[in-house]
């Protein structure tokens, strides 16, 4: 292979971008390995689209570099190794769906058979209709087919389901799943927590142009809110419990203790081996709580 298999699929180093006095992206470092499915999660205005535009080479960063498989974005685009689905527009209303995908194929150096792509992306039922007359969900499928036509190694989706109804969203992600089964690297921006939770291996949480958390959905929940161990400990020694590894704080309610943990696994090991604790329960707040906690911290700044 001409380009090494060892290069990360995406490597962002010290990326910044300001529009006038407004900093859209304030220093993003991010490495995405091959085959990862990563969600770029954040509220509106967090810098997701700006980051994606820089990754695709549509925007020039003020500082920092973007490497896609070790190459600058323009090279990746020219080689057809990156496919993208952008938020809105980007289609010609007077072409049919099939013509649009055929055009996208014709602009690539190598492309998969158009008929196959139309079928996979679910465009076939309305392939001969003009794009201008299609619903939002159908247009999104056309964009998806265009992004897939060169069989790219890296797929970038900017809020792919914004404006779609629940059914279209679900259908879209079902198709997406089939497409990533082959080990394709995917980066998608979203402000839907459930999508990030359900479809990404890894969530990168963006707020005010900075990454404020990066990990699996479970890690993010734990990192932000921690987990709570609830147990019944007869005659509990509060100082000893507070000294257990991974425990931040202890509360008691009669015989019931609540251990607020930053590492609930370590705390649990200590709790079960050094005390007579029973009725043990570990709970975490859901991702939505984590998200609200993080973004609220942002607005309080």
């Amino acid at each position: 292979m001409l380009y090494g298999m060892t290069n990360p699929a995406v490597q962002l180093t010290g990326l910044t971008k300001a529009f006038g006095a407004v900093t859209a992206v304030g220093g993003v470092d991010l490495t995405i390995r091959r085959g990862e499915v990563v969600a770029l999660l954040g509220p509106n205005g967090a810098g997701k689209s700006t980051t994606i535009d820089m990754i695709l080479g549509l925007l020039r960063p003020d500082t920092g570099t973007v490497l896609l498989d070790g190459q600058p974005p323009a090279r990746a685009v020219a080689r057809g190794t990156v496919g993208a689905l952008l938020q809105t527009g980007g289609l010609l209303p007077d072409l049919t769906a099939a013509e649009t995908v055929r055009l996208a194929a014709g602009l690539q150096r190598t492309a998969r058979p158009v008929g196959e792509v139309l079928r996979e992306a679910g465009v076939e039922p309305f392939a001969d209709q003009r794009v201008g007359g299609l619903s939002g969900g159908q247009q999104q499928r056309v964009r998806f087919a265009m992004a897939l036509v060169a069989d790219p190694e890296l797929l970038i989706l900017d809020e792919p389901t914004t404006g779609l109804d629940v059914e279209s969203r679900r259908a879209f992600w079902t198709t997406m799943r089939e497409q990533t089964a082959g080990g394709r690297t995917v980066l998608f921006a979203t402000h839907y927590l459930d999508e990030a939770d359900a479809y990404a291996d890894r969530i990168v949480l963006l707020r005010s142009g900075r990454i404020i958390a990066d990990g699996t959905a479970a890690q993010i929940k734990a990192a932000v809110t921690g987990r709570v161990i609830r147990a019944t400990v007869p005659g509990a020694d509060l100082a000893a419990l507070a000294a257990l590894p991974g425990v931040d704080r202890v509360e008691t309610r009669g015989d019931v203790v609540l251990l607020h943990c930053n590492d609930s696994d370590a705390a649990l090991r200590g709790l079960l081996t050094t005390t007579a604790a029973y009725d043990v329960e570990v709970t975490s707040r859901n991702l939505e709580d984590a998200f609200i906690a993080l973004t609220a911290a942002g607005s309080a700044q």
Binding site: L56, G83, L92
Partner: protein, 240 residues
């Protein structure tokens, strides 16, 4: 140039016939009014008017064809193209070829009216040369149209295009012969590409001496405007 893109652009053109119809209708009406009524029965004047109006039609068509780029940009189409390997050079080439295609019908229709209604008589060679001259002279305007498509906003591109078109036609001597203009205007005329297109397209009527300088000037305009268009395609990536 990209064959698939060019073919589908032609398909779009046939679906939205507005550009072709309007750019054909206007010179057709003008050649009937000016050639049929204003200049009377002078055969030389009629030839002059016919070729000038054909040129005007080709120029308007080429300009407005490029202007549709403003609408495409408004739709975010250029961002889509930027995510494909299509090179700026191939893109501009496609748009210029498309503009040349759109420039054919007005020339043909104007010549047909000239031959039938105005009884213009030319030799076969003169017809052919006048046609090629009038048609290919629209080249710099094709490039100018692409540039306009980038400078203008989708909602104002038609008005801007129409204004540029009128100014170029008037100052370039397509409506009133440059020789009849006051001296100042004659000097201004030489700075418009339309003046030189007139020189090229009408040269078969004055004995067939094609002005080398005129061709060079037109090529110069085409190259410079083409480069500007290329540059605009490269930098234009803003969100719709």
């Amino acid at each position: 140039m990209n064959a698939t893109y060019l073919r589908l652009e032609a398909v779009r053109l046939l679906r939205n016939k507005r550009v072709v119809i309007f750019s054909t209708l206007l010179p057709a009406i003008l050649v009937l009014i000016i050639g049929g009524v204003s200049v009377g029965n002078d055969p030389d004047a009629r030839k002059y008017v016919m070729v000038s109006m054909a040129l005007f039609g080709a120029m308007s068509a080429a300009l407005s064809s490029g202007g549709t780029i403003a609408v495409e940009r408004g739709l975010g189409w250029n961002r889509t193209l930027r995510l494909t390997p299509l090179s700026p050079g191939a893109y501009v080439m496609n748009k210029v070829i498309l503009a040349l295609l759109v420039a054919v019908p007005p020339v043909v229709v104007t010549f047909i009216i000239g031959a039938t209604v105005l009884h213009v008589r030319l030799t076969a060679a003169e017809w052919l040369l006048c046609f090629v001259g009038a048609w290919l002279s629209s080249l710099p305007f094709a490039a100018l149209g692409v540039v306009l498509g980038y400078i203008a906003k989708p909602d104002s591109v038609q008005q801007v295009g129409a204004l540029v078109n009128l100014v170029l036609a008037a100052f370039g001597g397509l409506w009133v012969p440059v020789d009849l203009m006051p001296r100042v205007l004659r000097e201004i005329a030489r700075f418009t590409p339309s003046y030189w297109t007139g020189e090229v397209a009408r040269s078969p009527l004055d004995g067939g001496h094609v002005d080398g300088q005129a061709i060079l000037v037109l090529l110069g305009w085409t190259v410079v405007l083409g480069l500007v268009a290329l540059r605009r395609f490269r930098v234009d990536t803003a969100r719709a």
